[in-house]
Symmetry: C2
Subunit: 357 residues, 2 copies
């Protein structure tokens, strides 16, 4: 087909080179077999437009035949950037972490990128140093930051300084559009409020997440927005501070349910706390939803594992992860990189019902 300077075989190949072959093909092998220079093969790999169609097709055929895939380490060394994407997170919820990882992997499937996970601790004295060492040493292509580390301005500043691409996943827009995926927790809070209002409740309480999570404020704010639409509002007394944990849900539930008159509906900042309230209600001898309506947020596994199954606000965590990666590795020329917004939605199960007569 075309002259090749050396024999058209790969040294040491005893079998097919694909199945059970001893040595993987390199760019040199492909170049030789296709009768071109390695630079031209490189152009094909990197989708350069400056290759004649005929040449490209010939090279692509050889690549396919040999099952060649460029070595990410060599490519990374030359590019001065690896093909690794870091997930840096401090979210304590296993379900969230796993869903997010699956979403990120969805987004990089077939791209040649790999996911490197990096839990962190914002309270650690080496917090920023650790992240910097991780990113610089691995020459990460980019990082994805879920809440609450996504809300830390120091991290964003650091990443900008060292020139590392990043996506922040948060409940509000806290950075330039190209860096943001917004979960719109506020909208979810309003959905919960409308549902509770429609059921006729008036004595309504809210269990908030920790102050340090932006989502705590958004979910509360949205809830108040939704109540306001019906002319209702939350007094400071109606808001109790939890910690997004099951135990804190129990404690907050205990406090709210001991009041007189007690609330007929409680909206919780997440499912864990809602599950805690369910347990608190049981201890108090109250039936859900007959005596008390409980609404959660997130729609993680626990929402369906408790009894009764929780009415909650579903957040599309996995989809958010996929879109985050696509935004990170995506084709810059494809579209203006505006902020990406995701919508939560209400899932009605059995923990919510009409206000008791």
């Amino acid at each position: 087909m075309s002259p090749s300077k050396t024999p058209s075989t790969i040294p040491e190949e005893s079998e097919t080179g694909v199945e059970g072959g001893r040595r993987r093909a390199t760019i040199n092998d492909i170049a030789r077999l296709a009768g071109v220079s390695k630079k031209t093969v490189s152009r094909v790999i990197n989708q350069s437009p400056f290759v004649r169609d005929e040449t490209r097709e010939r090279i692509e055929a050889v690549i396919a035949e040999w099952g060649y895939a460029p070595d990410p380490q060599a490519r990374g060394l030359a590019f001065r950037r690896s093909f690794l994407i870091g997930m840096i997170y401090d979210n304590p919820n296993p379900q969230y972490v796993v869903n997010m990882q699956l979403g990120l992997l969805d987004g990089m499937r077939g791209s040649g990128f790999e996911l490197v996970v990096h839990p962190c601790n914002r309270a650690s004295p080496t917090f920023l140093t650790d992240i910097r060492a991780f990113v610089e040493r691995q020459k990460l292509f980019g990082v994805v930051l879920p809440p609450s580390v996504s809300e830390d301005e120091r991290v964003a500043k650091l990443l900008n300084e060292i020139g590392c691409a990043y996506i922040r996943i948060a409940s509000v827009e806290l950075d330039k559009p190209e860096h943001m995926i917004v979960g719109q927790d506020r909208m979810g809070g309003a959905q919960a409020a409308r549902h509770i209002v429609e059921l006729g409740h008036k004595r309504i309480a809210f269990i908030s997440g920790p102050e340090t999570f932006r989502s705590s404020h958004e979910r509360r704010g949205g809830f108040e927005d939704g109540l306001a639409e019906a002319g209702l509002s939350l007094s400071p007394n109606d808001i109790v501070q939890g910690a997004y944990t099951f135990e804190s849900g129990v404690a907050c539930g205990d406090e709210l349910l001991s009041r007189s008159p007690r609330p007929t509906a409680i909206f919780c900042g997440n499912d864990e706390m809602a599950a805690g309230v369910l347990q608190s209600a049981r201890k108090a001898g109250l039936s859900v939803p007959q005596d008390l309506t409980v609404v959660g947020f997130d729609d993680f596994q626990i929402a369906q594992a408790v009894w009764p199954p929780l009415t909650t606000i579903h957040t599309p965590t996995r989809e958010i992860g996929r879109i985050a990666v696509e935004k990170l590795i995506g084709d810059e020329r494809r579209e203006p990189r505006d902020v990406t917004k995701m919508e939560p939605n209400l899932v009605i199960r059995q923990s919510s019902g009409p206000v008791p007569a």
Copy 2:
């Protein structure tokens, strides 16, 4: 201190090179600054004994001063092996996955290795091809296989063929000692049996995990061992097949509790199913532990989130992860690489109690 052939500075360094420095030091910089060849620096990095103490100290001082860390990509390219460790898994439990990841990261802290996660699906037609491509392309240093993918002999065979180091985490020894970490689920099953027997139960049932998980068999076998110690045994009728899911726990609970006479104690293959049985008991109007004793396995988060909190068998997932990595990257000369065994242990909470009068 010693002659250096070129000026003792790093080009382009405008600041300290550590904080806010523009360029990271390379092996060449260190060699020049220490007045040695890069090969000698390489010897220090790789802990070669053939370096004079004085030389080593001088080089180490320069390395520390500049905060130099070798580039993993360049090192990997030369070594023909990356510094990435893969976790290949198909375990459906988020808590297990996260705990295992944390354990693996514990084991690699400070080592320069990074963790690349790779969920897989044993039912996929490209299952083995995917794993092969992942391992070969990334030139993985090694992989850790938790259950149930750890139980797949095809994967072990593939890894052996392509010469990739691996550790299998399983409930029994299914490979050479150097490849195994054994969870000893059998022992845990026996612990559950002894606890139930001590409480005086005679009508005892077992809800098994899926046939495809080795742990299902081990947990049952251990449970039967423990019962046998007290002269008790399980008839085929006392064993119901679940699927390690909450829903399957509900279904199996429904079946067992509709029998007459019904069992007074149910041992479940994992916590998820035990939580399902709790829900089933509630539907049937039974109190736990007054009317029914329920015992789980794993001691994941859900064990404490349900009501009553579950008596269960704690498995040290995170520790197992740490030890798996240590075994993988550990110093070969340190010790004979025998099989590593981990012990589960009984955690008594409120779902178990004396047999009803």
